[in-house]
Symmetry: C2
Amino acid sequence: MSNPDRLPHVVIVGGGFAGLWATRALARDAVRITLVDRGNHHLFQPLLYQVATAGLSAPDIAAPLRHILRGQRNVEVRLAEVHGIDRTSKTLTLADGDTLDYDTLVLASGATHAYFGNDQWAAHAPGLKTLDDALRLRRKLLLAFERAEAETDPARCAAWLSFAIVGGGPTGVELAGTLAEIARHTLRSEFRNIDPALARVRLIEAGPRVLSSFPDDLSERARRQLEKLGVEVLTGTPVGDIDAEGFRLGDTHVPARTIVWAAGVAASPLGALLDTPRDRAGRVQVEPDLRVPGLPDVFVAGDLASVQCDGRPVPGVAPAAKQMGRHVAGAIRARLRGEPTRPFVYRDFGNLATIGRMAAVVHLGRLKLSGVVAWWFWLIAHVFFLIGFRNRVVVLLNWTWAYWSYQRAARIIFGPPDDVASRAPEADTHAAEHAGPRTDARADRRFG
Amino acid sequence: MSNPDRLPHVVIVGGGFAGLWATRALARDAVRITLVDRGNHHLFQPLLYQVATAGLSAPDIAAPLRHILRGQRNVEVRLAEVHGIDRTSKTLTLADGDTLDYDTLVLASGATHAYFGNDQWAAHAPGLKTLDDALRLRRKLLLAFERAEAETDPARCAAWLSFAIVGGGPTGVELAGTLAEIARHTLRSEFRNIDPALARVRLIEAGPRVLSSFPDDLSERARRQLEKLGVEVLTGTPVGDIDAEGFRLGDTHVPARTIVWAAGVAASPLGALLDTPRDRAGRVQVEPDLRVPGLPDVFVAGDLASVQCDGRPVPGVAPAAKQMGRHVAGAIRARLRGEPTRPFVYRDFGNLATIGRMAAVVHLGRLKLSGVVAWWFWLIAHVFFLIGFRNRVVVLLNWTWAYWSYQRAARIIFGPPDDVASRAPEADTHAAEHAGPRTDARADRRFG
């Protein structure tokens, strides 16, 4: 390689599936890469619900970016938050005041949860996008049973044992199924004043069915599996309002002290810094080759990108993000060689969602599975895709133990007391403004 | 059993070694037990430094009290903080306003760290007593290397790579040895602008030697092992002052952005609520049978109790706490039968401390070990004493992996940004006032 300071500088923002896969795909190219992320880790988001429901520890589903990339000598990892993008001077401003000049910029900062303009709900119905979200939610779920145990007023006790998950996409379904299992099995015989099995877990979906990205019959099977686990599935029922005491459904106020938001995502606010057209969810509209119109040196990949493929929008799932990351790397390589870039083609390998103990649905081409077989399929696929040998072994071990014992290894409450109710997630008002009623189509439901 | 509401009510405050062992020892007695703890878990404190140094996850060394005690039907677990004790009406007041009447009270709320009247140091030199402390410290340690990597000024960069551990007891020695290993091995080749191996790790002890509870020759061997790992051991050098930039040693101000406090412990502030004589560290002075003078229905056990045995103070270690817990259970049983209580006798089974990779010291009667053999001894003993089958397997697996790979599984930064510098630990000013220069004689250095 020539003098590294003379090499083209590629700045990649975001160490999720899109950013990390782009970085790794450029390992042998004559570029100098800076990977910027505000966290120090790559997160395997598809298993985030397991951290929230105390089945896995935070480090089980995350690996330090520096460690993943330690052998790739053309990468420098930078822990920092991006505050500004100057399109003209091609400079990023970081929160600590430093600047980064780029020759090529890859924006892959992903998505956050959105409340469709009801940001006041954030305080009462937290979402699930980061490890901090998951740990806060874990704390909230575990504390609800503790509060119920200490409560002598029957109505208040029932409100603490009333759980609602808003949004019937993959995240909502997973959370509802797992929570029902915790109430019915995990906590059995641990309380003296309450019966955790009397907890009500409601899954509320505004649309006509859960898991709407699946065929009708698999949605129906998912619903039946949820109901078997003890979840009350309410479809076609949009939530009217959410407050500290519960939520409104039509004319009824339903008491529920624990509400989880799994109903919508919006693009990361960094997309707005480019000052180019965005879709209703705040995602940056890109050319077929994933470049930003009018900004030939800027690519957008992953959940932040709004792109069509065969006339259909590419879903916001992990395999799509990985494919986009690799595509961007190829496009950067082509441009360095003076070759034309190619349009991004999304390969959809299938769709799978887990529901709970031994319950899942799988849709791969003409193959449709549900129940135990689908669950094994899901388990193997997810453990296989976990980054890092150690994580896979630990996660498998935890699950084996959890399966036989009905126990959950990480049922430990920590963190500052009572931060749950008071702290709203880092929802960006600007992004939320643009948020459309996009179904939760979270990372890695599909293969790729 | 007769009507449970008519049974004597034993309230045990604290789910640490003393409280939990007392609770379990009363499993077959005709009493009604309420175990009160402000956390939901029993913590295996001897491995807390592993969580702080990212070797283990928080749930690896903790288990929910409810789960441990689920089969013991005479126990109710209550997640609550005690705010007041009324000796006359025999009532506890909880932070949530509820009250608990007791027939017998067992106070076992342990110890916290103390700054010998220098509470302003708490913000710059956090201590290590709870899981929250450990996660905060982990974040601080990992962020120091990130800051150094981003810093262009050489002096500031060196300050970020300068670590100091104050206190040469078991905790200080473990932290120093592990931190040196992280700098020299774990982070190798992960950074581009700094060489983590150039980090300076200083262990500062005011007394003449480290591990002062061991014989002279083992202290000396511990020092040599620390130095081999890359730790600079400074003995006979009390710290003069601590601020955000470093610490003062004699006439010199030593730059260090990361300082850890492992120099002193003080009793939990709950001891003061009894309004009976306490020693300089705030521990409650008890009768030989562990009852509080003048309060025949109140026992104190564990680190909160100040008791002599064979003319020597019983050390604040886990085996002593377990033995006291069991003794209190026996004394309660004797009183119910109208029999006299017996004095507590501490059985000292030995003393061991780990230093780092393959380095430890062991002192059991006439047996003295150091180095590799001592390390294996320490490892097996500690994993054996971990509560819960699952934890043992996971911890062993993590260690095996860490040993061969030099990696640390939990190197994940989470928690609110920059809470490290701004938030002081929950140091109780009252307890700190009474804190004497007690050496860190932390839990479970001895067998029992």
